[in-house]
């Protein structure tokens, strides 16, 4: 009888433990920007994350001006993703600028590059477009703005390496069919519209296969003036002074 009661009490205690056990990694509360922005990292994770409903790109270490412009684009309805727009709707420019600076300042390791799945001819064509562009179509080389190492140019132009092929494909495709819109003039929309769908596929695969150089940083300032005007990116100053 007593043993039965003890067993029952033990069972109850075990159930209570189960019901109240906290996850192992619950960090203690800290009054920091990172704590305030758990709303972002829940989906984006430290390095971006693929989920059932799509891909949440890496935001850590992207240039602050680029991140700020994307936050504005989502909040102000130029980029269409309901969850992002709703989240940002009650936030003002000053806080968005701080959020952008916070994530830009994170220095987290990049995943290893994807294996290259292109034929030799396709590989050469992609590498040529990236490094030289196509003067006949007035297509600038990616490296002109995104940096010789394709790791971006501070503070407005993002790197193109260290990103998954599907994400790159989706972004260039979205620019091409008007689903991704930046501030006018939307230079990347104009460029994506010059590219054939199979070229976009080749460039995305090639970029995704490039390793991120160890300790890679975005360049400061453009080596040559930007060949096209891009909304939200000042054309003067060292890579455009932050506004």
């Amino acid at each position: 009888m007593i043993a039965g009661a003890r067993r029952a009490a033990l069972g109850l205690a075990a159930l209570l433990l189960l019901a109240t056990a906290a996850p192992a990694l619950a960090a203690p509360f800290e009054d920091t920007l990172a704590q305030r922005l758990l709303a972002c990292t829940g989906c984006h994770g430290p390095e971006g994350r693929a989920a059932a409903d799509g891909y949440y790109p890496r935001i850590a270490g992207k240039p602050a001006g680029y991140l700020f412009n994307q936050l504005l684009n989502f909040r102000d309805g130029r980029r269409a993703y309901g969850l992002m727009t709703n989240l940002l709707a009650p936030l003002d420019d000053a806080y968005l600028r701080e959020i952008a600076a916070h994530f830009a300042g994170l220095d987290l390791p990049y995943p290893p590059p994807a294996p290259l799945v292109l034929s030799a001819a396709d590989r050469a064509a992609a590498a040529r477009l990236v490094a030289e562009g196509d003067a006949a179509r007035r297509l600038p080389a990616c490296t002109t703005c995104h940096g010789a190492t394709l790791t971006g140019t501070l503070p407005f132009v993002p790197g193109l390496v260290g990103l998954p092929r599907d994400y790159l494909n989706a972004q260039l495709g979205a620019w091409r069919n008007g689903k991704r819109i930046a501030q006018a003039p939307d230079c990347m929309a104009a460029i994506a519209n010059q590219l054939a769908p199979e070229e976009i596929g080749r460039i995305s695969a090639w970029l995704a296969s490039q390793p991120v150089p160890p300790g890679a940083k975005a360049s400061v300032g453009f080596a040559t003036p930007m060949p096209v005007a891009c909304g939200g990116v000042p054309t003067t100053g060292p890579g455009g002074a932050p506004r």
């Binding site: 109240t20 906290a22 996850p23 509360f29 758990l38 829940g42 969850l83 009650p90 936030l91 701080e98």
Partner: protein
């Protein structure tokens, strides 16, 4: 009498009756209106007048509708979604062709007070003139002077996309005959000056009951005094009752905390989220402490509803599955006993936001996450991640039922169907 003659008389009587009704509708629509005289010559507005106009325009949250997402300030274009179709807010900047550039102060007053456009066309009550009709002429003139001082933006107004018959002026005239009378705010001498100022702001410019009141099948509220809560059409957020102690009554709060909530978006006993977040962002954070205190005085004095919600008959014990979901997704911020973190994460234990009859807002917040507004008093709000990408409807129902039965909370469970309906924008 021949059959034909009898038919004729009946027909004539019906026609007469219809004409009479139309006359009554027309008369009710013009009730209390004076013919507008020629516009007086424009005089330069003083800085003091413009500042007052700006404050009043903020109090009316004009920008909440008249500034499109990412659009120019007060240049219109935002869709106000209603069950009858979309109404597009108009351009309030002084552009002569697309905005208010050719309007007179009299015409602006008539729009606020009588709900008519410059041309005399009847305006849709998505523009809350059933509330703005209470704005004084002096305040309307200050707002008009401020709007006329804005940079002119040439941006043509969009045609409303309303279904027949709601797209006709005749239907609107009938609606107005049924539900709209011009009104003026009259101070209640039995109340304090502060209460009266609060009443003027809450019932008039603040148009609080545009959301915090139920609407009938024709979209009409029960009057500007009703703040008994209502589901916001289409958006499907529930604007809680401001009178009910089991919803969002602030009668038991210290007054300074009511002011704090409207000024900063967060207070010790509550946060604003969803549509109210945008109200604080665009409107109430800009109000003076005196005006916010007046609104608080008025809201705290609202009489509680005569009948309260009956307590739920059965509240099942917290489920192990719900507890597991809570531990996986919520406990890190909201705490093991739902205690939250003051100033950062709201407590869920003994929280009216959790136990309120309508679970609509809980479903929104869990699925979409959110931030309170960034305001001068709370410039870096703490956010909640959206769980729509990771939780199925059945999970959300389990989790919410757990919240509503744990830590002393006692509210009816939430079903998967409730979640699906909330997700689909129905209740």
């Amino acid at each position: 009498m021949t059959r034909r003659r009898r038919l004729g008389i009946v027909g004539l009587s019906i026609l007469g009756l219809l004409a009479g009704l139309a006359g009554v509708v027309a008369w009710l629509n013009l009730l209390g209106e004076e013919r507008l005289g020629p516009p007086p010559p424009r005089v330069a507005a003083s800085a003091e007048l413009l500042a007052r106009g700006e404050a009043l325009t903020r109090a009316g949250d004009c920008t909440g509708c008249h500034t499109a997402r990412g659009g120019r300030f007060l240049a219109g274009g935002r869709a106000i979604e209603t069950p009858f179709g979309n109404v597009y807010a108009s351009n309030l900047t002084p552009d002569p062709d697309t905005g208010l550039g050719r309007w007179s102060a009299d015409e602006f007053w008539r729009a606020l007070h009588h709900g008519r456009s410059k041309s005399g066309r009847l305006l849709y009550p998505a523009f809350p003139y059933p509330n703005y009709t209470r704005v004084s002429r002096v305040d309307a003139d200050a707002m008009f002077a401020y709007l006329q001082s804005l940079p002119a933006v040439a941006q043509a107004n969009r045609e409303h996309t309303l279904a027949f018959p709601f797209d006709t002026q005749a239907a609107l005239a009938v609606w107005r005959a049924l539900y709209f009378r011009p009104a003026v705010h009259v101070d209640d001498p039995a109340r304090s000056a502060e209460w009266n100022r609060g009443a003027y702001l809450v019932e008039g410019l603040g148009h609080c009951n545009a959301c915090h009141s139920a609407r009938n099948a024709l979209g009409a509220t029960r009057g500007t005094l009703d703040l008994q809560g209502g589901l916001i059409p289409v958006q499907n957020w529930y604007a809680p009752s401001l009178a009910s102690p089991s919803e969002a009554s602030v009668a038991a709060w210290p007054k300074r905390e009511v002011v704090q909530l409207l000024k900063t978006g967060i207070a010790p006993q509550g946060f604003v989220m969803g549509p109210m977040s945008e109200v604080v962002l665009n409107s109430t954070q800009y109000l003076s402490d005196a005006d916010l205190a007046a609104m608080a005085t008025y809201l705290q004095a609202l009489p509680p509803p005569t009948e309260s919600d009956p307590p739920p008959a059965v509240v099942p014990a917290p489920s192990a599955r719900g507890a597991a979901l809570y531990n996986d997704h919520c406990v890190a911020c909201h705490g093991e006993r739902g205690e939250g973190v003051p100033g950062a994460y709201p407590a869920l234990a003994k929280s009216r936001a959790v136990t309120m009859r309508s679970p609509a807002n809980l479903v929104h917040i869990v699925l979409e996450g959110g931030f309170p507004p960034s305001t001068a008093g709370n410039p870096r709000p703490f956010g909640m991640p959206p769980f729509a990408p990771v939780l199925q409807d059945a999970d959300v129902a389990e989790l919410l039922s757990f919240l509503r039965s744990a830590w002393g909370n006692r509210a009816a469970p939430v079903s998967t169907l409730d979640v699906a309906r909330a997700r689909a924008g129905r209740d």
